[in-house]
Each structure stands twice: as structure tokens, then as C-alpha cells.
Amino acid sequence: MAMLAINDLHASVDGKEILKGLSLSVNEGEVHAIMGPNGSGKSTLSKVLAGHPDYEVTSGRVEFEVNLRMRNVLDMAPEERARNGIFLAYQYPVEIPGVPNSAFLRAAFNAVCKHQGAKEVSEEAFAPILKEKCKLLGMDERFIDREVNVAFSGGEKKRNEILQMAIIQPRLAFLDETDSGLDVDSLRIVSEGVNKLRRQDNAVVLVTHYQRILNYIVPDYVHVLYQGRIIKSGKKDLALEIEEKGYDWLLKDFVN
């Protein structure tokens, strides 16, 4: 049984259709990469999956396996999707002035605990958990005292996304252009973080422009998204081919 099954998904923003019949299936333990030129709908897919209020699904199905049953994701509120294990690492993480990162992370952690029927943790009990995750990701602990993403550098914001992922431990992580705006060192640190969080029973979908991040997080499958549809799927060699030849040769075939 697939963990995620997207079937003929159509979605629009501001009345403009962006996804035009997208289908994708992801199994436990897999890493998928979704590539494609600008404006092909990559970010839209991530946002639709997370339940972004600006995006409207006009038709199609998105199902996610919860306790061995496929459930309709599109019926769920954003927090329900997240609690059931769908995580979106944002391309542009949101700044939230006045809210300390530690309080935010604890609220997320406790929401997961509650959902799973576990006891919520106190501030004191959460501190060592957070400390351990920071250590795992090689992150400065001073991160946690700051306000959520406020005055963070681009690299810090992306690392904070991965820290959130480490706290929530999702079953399916959608990383939306997590590599964009990162220098080589930051890219390596973020990628290593993601790799450390990989398990047999979770899956990662990398949405990216460039092949670069795929050197660190090696995909099992690569898909090319164009004009709101997946026009080609292959193994990791496809990414290398795109790196070498660009997208044009694929698009030419597609256009006619």
C-alpha cells in the first residue's frame, strides 16, 4: 500500500489553475525528488498538500495512509494533516514576532503527543529533548531562545525547519526548495540533518530546482513537473541528465 497517493489533482490559486492533473505515489522508506522549471507548480503541490488557505483544490484525490487505512487528506484541517504525519518544510519560513522558538516547538511537540495519546510535557521536561535534537542537527542552542524565524539568516531559517521536523518526526516530509539560498556548508548541514531523520517507515519528497541537494540526499525516484503535471519519472540518473542537458529536451517532447 502506498503511503501517499495523489490522483489527477487539479488546484488553483486566485482562480488560476496551476496543477492540472497531477498523479504521484510514494511508499514508506522512499526518497522522491520533484524537479521542474520555474512556474511548473512545484511549490503549489507542497502547499496544497499542507492545506494552505490560498490554494483551492478543484478536483482529484489526495490520500494518505493512517493506521493502515487510506484517508482523504483534502478533508483535513492543516493541523490534522500535520498530526497524521505530513510535514512541509517551507521555502520561505514565516517569521512570528513575540513567540519564542522554544514555546513554539513545545506546542508542536505536545500537539503530536496529544494526538498519539501520550502525555504532554512540561517546559522542564521538554528542554533536554530539544537540546538533544539540536545536538543531532549540529545546531546552536541559542536558536531556541530566539523568536520564531525573526532576524534569522536564510540558512538559519532552513535549519529551523529541519529542527521542527526533528521534533515532530513526520512520516512524510515535503521539503520545498530547502536548498534554495543556501551556501555549500549550510546545504551540507541541512542535508545531513534530513538524512539523520530518515527511517524505514518514513518518506521524503524533495522539491527542487537543482540537482545539487540530490548529491546529499539521494533519491530513489525523480519526477519532472511541467505545466502542473508530471511529464517524466525515472531513477536518480534522470536528475543527472537534467543537470547536464537542462529541461528543454524534455519539454520539447511534451509540448508536441
Binding site: 499542507a50 492545506g51 493541523e79 500535520a82 517551507y90 512570528i96 513567540v99 506546542a107 500537539a111 503530536v112
Partner: protein
């Protein structure tokens, strides 16, 4: 009737006071009368008056509060006693007023001596006309409620620090309105002088005993900062259902620093005027505030900062969270006079409306006559940012909890800016209390 309702009734109250106060010096009497008369010369303002456009005094006038009472200080019942004790900041020097009368037992009179403490009556009988000139003419003293205060105030305090005196214990001034039917409007006048090189932190709280009864506190708190003086002034109004008017006035000498915070978390109708004047270079004023309103509360801040000389800095941030049918007014004037070159002045107000029926009238005003300054102002009024809400929801946090976190974050954004650590933690507790009540009553509609 000796009430605050019409001009005639104010006159009558003044006449009554004049006959019932014994042993007052002629100078003192005239000082009071002069300010009172000038304050009421145009009558009680209506919303046609520019300064009162968004705040109607009608609800206050309708209550017909007694302006003057010669009754002895109220007997303390155990409820008031317990309330006061629960509200006192730990490790502070206390000055407690019950319905406008200094309570010696709850105040720390011995420690106050080291702060140059004298009662208002002592200050009135010992200081001469030229000393009084400063306090009678400091900015904001021409306001209606400053005049009413000066005219009818029964008790108050003068605190005159010594040069270079560093006071590490905070001064906690607590005003309690008991709401007793025969109590007059409670007025207190405080004169605080922080001379050259001295340092003081002042917490001033206005609280009330019961929500059901009515009450009116009319505060007047004046500061005089000498060269390089450092003074923090943190005021908290949490008197649900009560009326509150206040005049805060500060005059800043060279290199001094004045940090203020006005927190309003409960009041039926509040009008708070803050006037700051720079009289010499290199001084700094941090003028922040937060109002949290619900039901039909109405909170109005009018602030005036006057840069008469150059090389001074003003940082002002006022934030508000408004629920239900509450209203808030922010009117912030900053004058940068012709000679005030190299002034830096930044003013911002941001408001979060939690209900369609809440209303904010924000009027930032910057008047610049100098040509070499850095200044900005801005006003924002909005609701919860849907992207911030979605971000929290996408991290498993439920909608209601996410809303509460964002509101709290919005408030903390200004509280966390406080430089003084104890002020930060004390004000933060007040904010928590407000939010706790907000959550317990089921939060606000959106």
C-alpha cells in the same frame, strides 16, 4: 451636587473644598485654584473638541462622581488588605493609596525616607513659589484632568532623590479604588525628582476591589530628570469596570534616560495623557505601551513628545489587542522644533482586532521643523495574519491554540523590548493574567 458633571457643579465642589480645608496657606490655595480654573475655563469637552474626537466623556459625566470629600481615610476591610498584599511586587519600597489617601501601614515609610519622601501636604507647606513653578507648568499640566487633580487632590507624595543616588529596590506605588458609594473620585499627585546621576525604577498600579461597583481614579504623576538621570516608569491599569484618567509629565535634562511603559488590561473608560519634554541634548525617551481591551472597554492614549533641543532620541511603540466591541484611541504627537537638529524619533502603533465590532482610531503625528533629523511614524490595524496562523497549524498546533499564541506573541513583542528585566517579568505576568481570562471565557470571535 459637588460632582464632576457640569461646570457649575465643579465650581460648587471647589467652594465646598475651600471652606472645609483648614490651615491651608494662601499660596497653596491659589496655586490649586489657578490650575483648576484654567483647566475648566472651556467647560467639559465634547467630541467636537479635537483632542476628544474619539473619546466621549459622557459615561464619566453621567456617573456624577463626587469631586470632593472631607471624610477621613477609609477603614480597611480584610478584603482590601488581602488584595493589596497579593499585588505588591516582592522586594520593593511601597507607597499605597486607598481611594486617594496614603495608607501608612501598608506603605514602607521608613524606606521611603531614604528616597526623600514627603507628603504632598508637607511639600505644599514647605516649598516656595519658584520651586512650585516647575511642577505647575510642566508639560501636560494645562489638561482638564491635571487641573481637576491639582484642585481637589487630598493626598500625594514628593520623592526627591539625592544627586547620584542609585536606588536598586523598585518603588511600587499602588492605588486602590474600593468603589465605596460615599468615596470621592480618587486623585493622587506624585512628584518624582531624579536628579543628576541618580537612578530609580517606579511601578505604578491602579487596581480596584470589585468589578460591580463604580469608581474613578484620576492620577497625576510628574517626573523631573536631572543630567544623566535614569528613570524607569512602568504603569499598569487593571481596574475592570472603573473609570481612569491620568496625566503623566516628564522633563528630561541632558543625557538622561526615561523608559516608560503603559499597560492597560482592564478599565471601563481610560484616558491617559503622557507628555515628555527634552530640555537639553543627548537624552533618550522610550515610550512604549500595550492596551488589551474587551467587552465595551474604551482606552485612549494621548502622548506628546517635545524635542526642543537637538541630539535626543525617542523610540515609541504602542500596541493594542481589541476584542468584542471595545475601542482604543492612540494619538501620538512628536514635535521636532527648529533647533532640534540631529533628533532621532521613531513612532509606531500596531493594533490587532479580534472582532469585527472592535475599533481603533490611530493618529500618529510628526511635526518636524528642523532639517537634519531621522524620524518615522506608522500605524497598522489588522487581524491575525493568515500565513502565520497556517504556519503554526502546519506544525500540528490547533487553530484556537495557534490564535492564542499569535495574540500573545503580538503582545510580547512590545513587552520583551523592555530593557529592565524585572519590569519585563512583572508586566509579562499582567499580560498572562489577561490572556488567562481571555482563554477561560472562550477566547474571542474572529
Amino acid at each position: 451636587m459637588t460632582t464632576f458633571s457640569t461646570l457649575q457643579s465643579i465650581e460648587k465642589a471647589w467652594a465646598e473644598r475651600s471652606t472645609s480645608v483648614a490651615g491651608e496657606s494662601r499660596q497653596s490655595f491659589e496655586r490649586r485654584e489657578r490650575l483648576l480654573r484654567s483647566a475648566i475655563k472651556d467647560g467639559i469637552p465634547t467630541t467636537r473638541h479635537e483632542e476628544w474626537k474619539y473619546t466621549s466623556l459622557r459615561p464619566l459625566v453621567d456617573q456624577s462622581f463626587r469631586l470632593w470629600s472631607s471624610l477621613p481615610s477609609p477603614a480597611l476591610d480584610s478584603a482590601v488588605d488581602a488584595l493589596v498584599k497579593s499585588k505588591l511586587i516582592p522586594d520593593a519600597t511601597y507607597l499605597v493609596f486607598i481611594d486617594g489617601i496614603l495608607n501608612a501601614r501598608l506603605s514602607s515609610l521608613e524606606e521611603l525616607t531614604s528616597l526623600g519622601f514627603r507628603t504632598l501636604a508637607e511639600a505644599e507647606s514647605t516649598n516656595d513659589a519658584s520651586w512650585w513653578d516647575f511642577w505647575q507648568t510642566s508639560p501636560g499640566m494645562n489638561g482638564l484632568f491635571a487641573g481637576i487633580n491639582v484642585g481637589f487632590v487630598r493626598d500625594g507624595a514628593l520623592l526627591e532623590l539625592k544627586k547620584n543616588q542609585i536606588v536598586s529596590r523598585p518603588l511600587h506605588i499602588l492605588h486602590v479604588v474600593t468603589g465605596h458609594a460615599d468615596a470621592a473620585a480618587s486623585a493622587t499627585r506624585l512628584l518624582i525628582s531624579v536628579p543628576e546621576g541618580a537612578r530609580l525604577r517606579v511601578f505604578e498600579d491602579f487596581i480596584s476591589v470589585s468589578e460591580s461597583s463604580s469608581g474613578w481614579s484620576n492620577g497625576l504623576t510628574q517626573f523631573k530628570l536631572g543630567p544623566r538621570a535614569d528613570c524607569g516608569y512602568y504603569r499598569v491599569l487593571s481596574s475592570p469596570g472603573k473609570f481612569h484618567t491620568a496625566t503623566i509629565s516628564a522633563v528630561l535634562d541632558r543625557g538622561s534616560r526615561f523608559e516608560t511603559f503603559s499597560l492597560v488590561a482592564g478599565s471601563r473608560l481610560a484616558r491617559i495623557n503622557i507628555d515628555v519634554k527634552f530640555t537639553a541634548t543627548d537624552a533618550e525617551c522610550i515610550l512604549n505601551g500595550l492596551y488589551l481591551t474587551r467587552d465595551q472597554e474604551h482606552v485612549d492614549h494621548h502622548t506628546v513628545v517635545d524635542h526642543q533641543v537637538g541630539f535626543c532620541r525617542t523610540h515609541q511603540l504602542y500596541k493594542g489587542i481589541l476584542a468584542d466591541e471595545s475601542r482604543a484611541v492612540f494619538n501620538g504627537k512628536i514635535y521636532i522644533r527648529k533647533d532640534a537638529q540631529k533628533t532621532e524619533a521613531y513612532q509606531t502603533t500596531k493594533n490587532l482586532l479580534l472582532s469585527k465590532n472592535a475599533e481603533v482610531d490611530a493618529k500618529p503625528q510628526l511635526e518636524i521643523d528642523a532639517d537634519d533629523v531621522k524620524a518615522s511614524h506608522g500605524a497598522a490595524i489588522g487581524s491575525i495574519d493568515p500565513l502565520e496562523l497556517f504556519y503554526l497549524q502546519s506544525r500540528c498546533i490547533g487553530r484556537a491554540e495557534a490564535m492564542a499564541m499569535l495574540c500573545r506573541g503580538f503582545a510580547d513583542d512590545v513587552v520583551l523590548r523592555l530593557q529592565d528585566k524585572s519590569a519585563k517579568s512583572i508586566l509579562s505576568k499582567h499580560v498572562s493574567q489577561w490572556f488567562k481570562h481571555e482563554v477561560s471565557r472562550g477566547g474571542s470571535n474572529t
